[in-house]
Structures are given as C-alpha cells and as structure tokens.
C-alpha cells in the first residue's frame, strides 16, 4: 500500500504539494465532524488574533461599582470580583492558551519526531539509551512532571511551553519510532540506501514524508491535551501570570463566588470545553480523512464486511 502511494507521489511533480494540502482540506471540510471542528477552531483563532480589538472593554479595566454583576447588555458575560468584563477577558484569554498549546505541541512534535526517527532508524545502543530516557520521562503522569518542572524553574509562558513539550516528547517519539520500524524495511528505503543516500537524507526525505499522516493526527490529539494541561496548570496557579487573562486561573479565582456569581466560573469553563471539543472533532475528521487516504477501497470493503 505504502509503496504504491510513494510511486504515485513520485509521478506527481513537487509543485502539487499545495494542491494535495488543499484536497486534504476539502475532504476534511466534507466530513461532518471535521467541518464542525474546523469552524469551532477557526472561531477561536479569530478570537486569539482579534480578541483585544473585539473586546468591548480593556481586559484589565476595573469597574468597582459593577463588581460581580450578572450578564447584561453592557457586560455580556457579567463581571468578576474586580468589576472586570468577563466577555473581554474570555476573548483576550484565547490568545495565550492557543499560542501556548500550539507552540508546545510543535516543539514536542519536533523533539519527539527527532528522537523517534533516530531510535527507529539506527536501532542498537542509540535506541536503547534514548528510549530508556523516554521511559523515565513517561514514568510521571503528564501533569505531575509539568508541575514539578514549573515549580522548580518558575512559571512563565516560555517555561510552560518547554514543560509541556518535554512531557509530550517521549509519547510522540514512541509513535514515530514504531512507524519508522515499519517503514525501514520497505523497498524505497532500500533503494535510497543502494543509491548511497545519507542517513539524514533517508530519514528526512524518504521516511518522514511517508509518516506524515500519523504524525499530523498525533499532533492534533496532542493540541487538545496541551490545552487541557495548560488550563489545569492555570487553575493550579502555575499558568500565565496575572493580570493576563488565563481561563484556568479565572475559574479558580471565581470559585469562591460560585454561590453568588456562577457566571465568573461558567464562561471561562465553557470556553475551554468548546475549544477542546472543537480540536477533538477536528482530530476525528483528520483521522477519517487519513484512513481513507491510505487504505482507500480496502477500508470500505472492511466496513462492508461488518
């Protein structure tokens, strides 16, 4: 299957990469969960980019006389204990969490893919040592390791990104390593070896493009975990530092007013939940598109058989 895919790829000029991406996008948009996911995520991206412009109030502006007001026409989502407009804070908060989770995931993917390629391709003692190190990192529950790193090295946007990326690295590496092990014995890799290509060339030009599907799906899954992790860190007070709006922190600060002003907690919570649902739907859509890409008619036969 994979061989015929590469043959097909080889016959198409490199120019068509953009076209293939566009086709992938179209089939994603044709898938119901993919489309819903795309719309939700796009909405949050708009919030992240234009949040500060769209916000009716500056997110730090305090209206003391209007503290803990319920949702109204002036304050769509109500106000918090300092009289800050929650709608504005939710809008502006999208930027930090999206930036954080996407950057952390990309960094985690970069590290994990590198380790996975190297361990899978070379095997032997390199594989042993690196994978044992990955095992050590994976011996901690994700949140525990992130908490530990942040509590020792201090919090901050940059450190949260590194912390999450470190947590993700071994899990991505495992996925990539197993794909590489599978691809390593394929004819097109042997052909490249016979041509005398360098190990770096084979890993980056022959193996990586053929592993891109699962890596994209893994990245998409990781983004939703990153959002949950970042929000939980924020809730525990180790996220983006105030007065920057952080949805997790908003929930933990608003908890003491649950009885009199539940909206302080409800709206940031909803923002997190909807964003993660969006990313998860997008992941589902991606998985379906990738499945039909790689297995084509086979997949349908299997389904018909059931």
């Amino acid at each position: 299957m994979i061989l015929s895919q590469t043959e097909a790829k080889a016959s198409v000029p490199a120019m068509s990469n953009a076209l293939r991406l566009w086709r992938g996008f179209l089939s994603l948009a044709r898938n119901p969960s993919g489309l819903t996911g795309l719309i939700i995520v796009a909405l949050f991206v708009v919030m992240a980019i234009f949040g500060e412009v769209l916000a009716p109030f500056p997110y730090t502006e305090q209206h003391y006389s209007d503290a803990l007001m319920s949702p109204s026409k002036t304050y769509l989502f109500g106000t918090d204990q300092y009289g800050r407009d929650i709608f504005s804070r939710v809008l502006v908060g999208a930027r930090s969490i999206l930036l954080l989770s996407v950057t952390a995931t990309l960094l985690g993917l970069l590290l994990g893919v590198t380790v996975g390629l190297i361990t899978g391709y070379f095997g032997g003692w390199v594989d042993e040592i690196l994978m044992r190190l990955m095992d050590v990192i994976m011996s901690f529950p994700s949140l525990l390791l992130a908490l530990l790193l942040l509590s020792v090295f201090g919090s901050g946007m940059f450190k949260i990104i590194i912390g999450i990326a470190v947590v993700f690295m071994p899990r991505v590496a495992r996925v990539v390593r197993s794909i590489v092990l599978d691809l390593k014995s394929k004819e097109f890799v042997d052909a490249a070896k016979v041509r005398g290509e360098s190990a770096f060339y084979i890993m980056s030009q022959e193996i990586l493009p053929n592993a891109s599907g699962p890596i994209i799906v893994e990245g998409s899954i990781r983004i939703s975990y990153a959002i949950l992790l970042a929000a939980s860190l924020g809730y525990l007070g180790l996220g983006v530092q105030p007065p920057s709006p952080d949805w997790g922190l908003q929930v933990s600060e608003g908890r003491q007013f649950i009885l009199i002003a539940p909206w302080v907690v409800i709206f940031p919570s909803l923002a997190i939940a909807i964003l993660v649902i969006g990313v998860n739907l997008l992941t589902d859509g991606l998985k379906k598109v990738m499945d039909s890409d790689t297995t084509g008619p086979n997949q349908e036969m299997q389904q018909g058989g059931q």
Partner: protein
C-alpha cells in the same frame, strides 16, 4: 511468562532508580535549600551554615542522593520541613485516602463503562451509539477542574444534597465518608468512562464481525448468549489493559480533583509541598506517584499478555 515478569520487574527497578535520580536532580535547581526554608528570609549566613552542617546539606549532591535513597530503602522517607513530622506517616495516610477515592471511582466506572461500550458497539452508528459517542467526546474535552466545579454548582449549591468539599474525619466510618467521595469520584469517572467505553466499543465491533460470531449466529444461538458468552469475553481483552492503565491515570488526575474538592490525598499533599518548598515531602510524593503510575502501566502490559494467547506464545 514468569521469566518475562521477572525481566520486566528488574527493568522497572532500574527505571525507578533513574526516576529517583531525575527527581533528586530537579530539586537541586530549586532556589534556596532546606536551611533557608526552615530559618526564613531573615536568617544570618552563620546560622544557615550551622544548620546546613547539621542537616548534612554541605555535603556533595551524590552523597546526599545516596543518603536519601538508602533512607527510603530502610523505610525512612525523611522529615517534612513544614509539617515537622516523619514524611512516611503522612504519606501512608494520604495514600490510603487517595486509594479509597481511586478504588471507589474504579468500582463505579468499570462495569458501567463496559456496559456503555458494549451497547455502543452493538448499535453501531445508530442512536444509542451516537449519544454515547457524544458523551465520551464531551467527557474527554472537559478538564477535571471544570467538571468538578460544575458538579459543585449543581449538587452542592443548587440542589444542596452533597458536601462541596471533602473534609474527611479520618476516624469516621465508611458510610459517613462515602458522601464525600461521591462528587470527586464522579469527576474522575467521566474520563475513565470515555476511555473504557471507546475501547470496549471498538473491540466489540471487531469481535462481532469475526467468523466465529457469525457461526454462532448461524447456528441459531440466541442473540443474548452470543453477545454475552461469546463476544463480550473476547472484546474485553483490550479493555482490560486500558482499565489497568487507568489506575495510573487516576493517580495523575487526583492532583487536580483533590484540589477542587479539598480532598486530603496525595495530590493535595503534592500541591502543599510545592507551595511551601518542602523538598523532602515533594521528593517523596513525586516518587510514590511515579512508582504507582509505573506499576499500573506494567500491570496493563502483563494483563494484556496474560489474556492474549497470541502474544503469550511468542
């Protein structure tokens, strides 16, 4: 099989040793040490030096590491800087509380998760399946602190039938404690449900499409018998290891859930240690949670092998 288990256990011990080195090394980067934490900001350098010598903090790191590990092997986990007591005692008490919560969640989640997964698998792509899929999507999309907070709003504030936080009296009897366990357990239940349900569903679909099920149906066996005595038994194989892995996940998820409900378990102890820079306590809790996590992952692996003859023979 027993040789394999022995190999894995040796391997686990080795990894655990590396984990302890990692934990110890990370702590070395903390600004300030035990002496500054005990004496506070106003301490004179002389006092600090005296205390450091007394606590053995002036010795090189490898020596202190060996001292720490040797202590744990003897059952001495060190002394908490803030609580001024032996870490071992607190650790045991908190472990008991966390385990009670984890066990309770487990008992609630496993049968219901398997049932939901079976239903979804049998009614694939029909209404029950769609509803259950939507439910699992929601469950994995909500962070624990959001689920927990909403449960408090609904059950403790609006309905006022359950306590919002878990100030457990350690001497209280079981039935009195259970009401404190309900909300935290439901919070963790959601994610466990999602994992178990999804796994059971997909393996149920796979098994129901297999030849021996077709044979059983064509033989004229009643559907219930086919589902429960033929299909479910085999569909549960992969689910078992997902369940075992969830034990590890539970102990990770406890950190946030215990914080939401002020439940006196390991997670709360960890956060206390972090906030107070209580290094001996932080080291001990981290090592314990990591060990539990590793053991449950190993159990997941072993169970999968034990129940799967195809792998066992290899």
């Amino acid at each position: 099989m027993s040789r394999y288990i022995l190999k894995r256990l040796l391997f686990l011990t080795f990894t655990l040793a590396l984990v302890s080195v990692l934990i110890f090394s990370i702590m070395e980067f903390l600004p300030g040490d035990a002496a500054t934490v005990i004496l506070g900001q106003m301490a004179t350098p002389e006092d600090l030096a005296i205390l450091r010598a007394k606590l053995g903090l002036d010795r090189p790191a490898p020596e202190r590491y060996l001292h720490w590990v040797a202590g744990i092997l003897r059952g001495d986990w060190g002394e908490s800087l803030r609580l001024k007591t032996e870490v071992g005692g607190i650790l045991l008490e908190r472990l008991r509380n966390s385990s009670a919560l984890a066990l309770f969640t487990f008992i609630l989640a496993v049968p219901s998760g398997i049932l939901l997964g079976t239903l979804a698998g049998l009614w694939r792509d029909r209404l029950p399946d769609r509803l259950i899929s939507m439910g699992t999507l929601l469950a994995v999309s909500l962070p624990e602190f959001v689920t927990g907070t909403f449960l408090i709003i609904i059950f403790a504030s609006w309905l006022q039938i359950l306590p919002p936080s878990s100030l457990i009296d350690p001497d209280a009897n079981l039935s009195a404690s259970i009401q404190f366990l309900i909300l935290p357990a439901i919070t963790m239940l959601f994610v466990m449900w999602a994992h178990i349900t999804r796994m059971t569903r997909s393996s149920m679909i796979e098994v129901m499409g297999s030849n021996y099920i077709r044979t059983a149906v064509l033989k004229g066996l009643p559907r219930n018998k086919v589902v429960f005595s033929h299909a479910l038994r085999n569909a549960l194989l992969p689910t078992i290891s997902v369940i075992a892995m969830n034990i590890g996940w539970l102990f990770g998820g406890l950190i946030v859930v215990e914080s939401v409900f002020a439940y006196p378990g390991l997670g709360q102890l960890l956060l206390f240690a972090i906030r107070n820079q209580d290094v001996p306590l932080l080291q001990a809790v981290t090592l314990l949670i990591a060990a539990i996590y590793m053991l449950s992952n190993l159990a997941a692996d072993l169970l999968y092998r034990l129940f799967n003859p195809r792998i066992r023979l290899q």
